[in-house]
């Protein structure tokens, strides 16, 4: 959908704002550009609609060079949202949202319908807000209008330059959430610039980290957190993010790998000795290839030790299991429902590779928590 090939921006004084950046954004992706100030993240974004023309390389939109358009026509086809919103103070909200459709020559009643639809989409009652002026709206409401304005002519690509940075934390959180759900519905290709890592992790399908005009890493949030390609990336993300965000912590990082397993044909006596030796309450049953079969509780084995020949007879199926790709948050949620108070972790072929118990979950989370406290001091 959107492709950068060795794109650079060099100013007349020789300053390299963007240094040979290449990437590809598929349709429907929300890509976050993040980096410290002066990293070239905003410039990179603004080169797409030529608010900042690039000096070398090629930017193509659906395969077409963005330099082959007339600048104003190119921009009319791309949504643009900026931090200071930039609503026209002399226009009503309705007229503000109607700017691009008007430039594109839509019929007045089509514009009106569209404006009302958009106002509802961003959570503002058209009856109340359509005829108001920007200064009568709060900052959060103004940016809602800013987003509606960018969506007005239904562009495929939307550029957002720190759209929520000037808002108070509560409003910011709210608008972030609304943008995420809006994006699920509309499936736009969004380039979102921010300097806030929490925002990036929350919003981005993928995140591009920039520094000194260079693109250091472009990956999914999970991958960035676990495989930072660069010391700076690691430093910039900050270790504490992982702890704050169990959603992004893979379950394999908190599971215990020494799982006590046994075969279904084991005798109850063998099972009891295992349970006593390892001080466990439940035994995971696997076949020869370590594929998960079920679970036997210590209570049942001890009760029925004299009436059974193999533990297969009292084995229960286990419904609460997680794939190795799951997150710690998944484990926390599932733990609540698990009747055994444990969750086996399996790989793609259902082989048991680890176990999360209430105890290991708590230990993992609390150890990271205390680490974080130390870091914070």
């Amino acid at each position: 959908m959107l492709k950068f090939e060795n794109v650079s921006k060099v100013y007349e004084d020789g300053f390299k704002a963007v240094d040979s950046v290449s990437f590809d954004i598929p349709k429907g992706e929300l890509l976050v550009l993040i980096g410290p100030s002066g990293s070239g993240k905003s410039t990179t974004m603004k080169m797409i609609n030529r608010m900042e023309p690039h000096t070398s390389g090629k930017i193509s939109i659906n395969g077409k060079d963005n330099n082959s358009y007339v600048a104003s026509e190119l921009r009319r086809g791309i949504g643009y949202v900026i931090q200071q919103v930039g609503l026209f103070p002399h226009y009503t909200i309705e007229k503000n949202i109607a700017i691009v459709p008007q430039l594109n020559g839509w019929a007045p009643d089509k514009i009106k319908t569209r404006v009302h639809e958009l106002l509802e989409m961003v959570g503002l009652d058209p009856e109340i807000y359509a005829s108001r002026y920007p200064k009568e709206l709060s900052g959060g409401q103004q940016q809602r209008v800013g987003i509606a304005r960018a969506l007005a002519s239904d562009p495929e690509i939307i550029l957002m330059d720190e759209p929520f940075s000037a808002l108070d934390p509560l409003t910011r959180e709210q608008l972030q959430g609304e943008l995420i759900s809006l994006q699920k519905k509309l499936n736009k290709t969004i380039i979102f610039v921010t300097h806030d890592m929490d925002e990036a992790l929350k919003m981005g399908d993928r995140i591009a980290i920039m520094k000194d005009g260079k693109l250091l890493q472009l990956d999914t949030p999970e991958k960035l957190l676990h495989e930072p390609a660069h010391g700076f990336v690691e430093e910039f993300i900050g270790k504490h993010r992982i702890i704050q965000n169990p959603e992004l912590m893979p379950v394999i990082d908190i599971m215990s790998e020494s799982v006590v397993t046994t075969l279904p044909q084991s005798s109850p006596e063998k099972a009891i000795s295992l349970i006593r030796q390892r001080k466990i309450t439940d035994l995971i049953i696997v076949d020869e290839s370590k594929t998960l079969l079920g679970i036997v509780s210590a209570y049942d084995v001890i009760q029925k030790v004299n009436s059974i020949r193999s533990i297969a007879e009292i084995m229960q199926p286990i419904g609460h299991i997680l794939q190795d790709s799951a997150s710690a948050k998944d484990a926390i949620i599932m733990m609540d429902e698990s009747p055994f108070g444990l969750i086996p972790i399996v790989d793609e072929s259902k082989k048991v590779i680890g176990l999360v118990t209430r105890g290991s979950l708590l230990a993992a989370l609390s150890s990271q928590w205390t680490e974080a406290e130390v870091v914070a001091v």
Binding site: M51, Y80, P89
Partner: protein, 218 residues
């Protein structure tokens, strides 16, 4: 006649010369009107031009500023070799005087438009002309109107000097009053000129309010 109080003189003079006063007022208004008309057209254009060509800013605003520092009488004198004696010279000089406040306010009004508004306009795909006419000028209107109002009021006062180069207007009575030592005669020119200035002030003030976009009003 010189024993009469200044007010008695004024009453007497106006009874004698009311027809001439009306005529002079009409000439005065014409001087102001035509010089202002040219100054508005050129001043606004120059003001816009310097926002587009930054290299011209110093030249234009500095140049019109220098013009303002030349004493009004001297400027009228300089104009005589070019336009000769009479109305043309007066209008040219008055126009030059009005140029600065209008050009400067146009420039300032456009420059003061919130950069975010301009960036949004450009980012949405407005052309430079669309930005000027749909965004910058409407938002600069209150400032431009204030410049025009200032220029107009100064202009009414300066226009009394036109009498010195034979262009007529209310300055005739002031000139005559000074040379003959009749204070009432001076007032006969000064009072209508002052009234004219007040009327213009009120007129442009309400025009300013009327042309200010609704979203900008407090």
């Amino acid at each position: 006649m010189n024993n009469l109080s200044i007010w008695q003189q004024l009453v007497e003079q106006s009874q004698m010369r009311w027809k001439e006063v009306l005529e002079a007022t009409s000439v005065h208004i014409q001087l102001v009107f035509f010089s202002m008309l040219i100054a508005i057209i050129l001043g606004v254009t120059l003001g816009i031009l310097v926002t587009r060509v930054p290299q011209l800013t110093t030249l234009v605003l500095g140049g019109t500023g220098v013009m303002q520092t030349i004493p009004s009488l001297a400027l009228l004198g300089f104009m005589i070799p070019i336009f000769g004696i009479g109305v043309k010279t007066a209008i040219a000089a008055l126009f030059l005087y009005s140029l600065l406040p209008i050009a400067r306010n146009t420039y300032a009004g456009i420059k003061d438009v919130d950069p975010a508004t301009r960036e949004a306009a450009k980012g949405m795909g407005m052309t430079s002309m669309q930005i000027l006419f749909k965004v910058e000028l409407p938002l600069a209107i209150p400032v431009i109107m204030a410049g025009i109002r200032t220029a107009a009021v100064i202009n009414v006062g300066n226009a009394t000097l036109a009498a010195f180069i034979g262009a007529g207007g209310l300055g005739d009575f002031i000139f005559l009053g000074i040379t003959r030592g009749i204070d009432g005669l001076i007032l006969l020119g000064a009072v209508p000129a002052a009234l004219l200035a007040i009327i213009l002030e009120v007129f442009f003030g309400s025009l300013e309010r009327w042309t200010t976009p609704k979203g900008l009003k407090a």
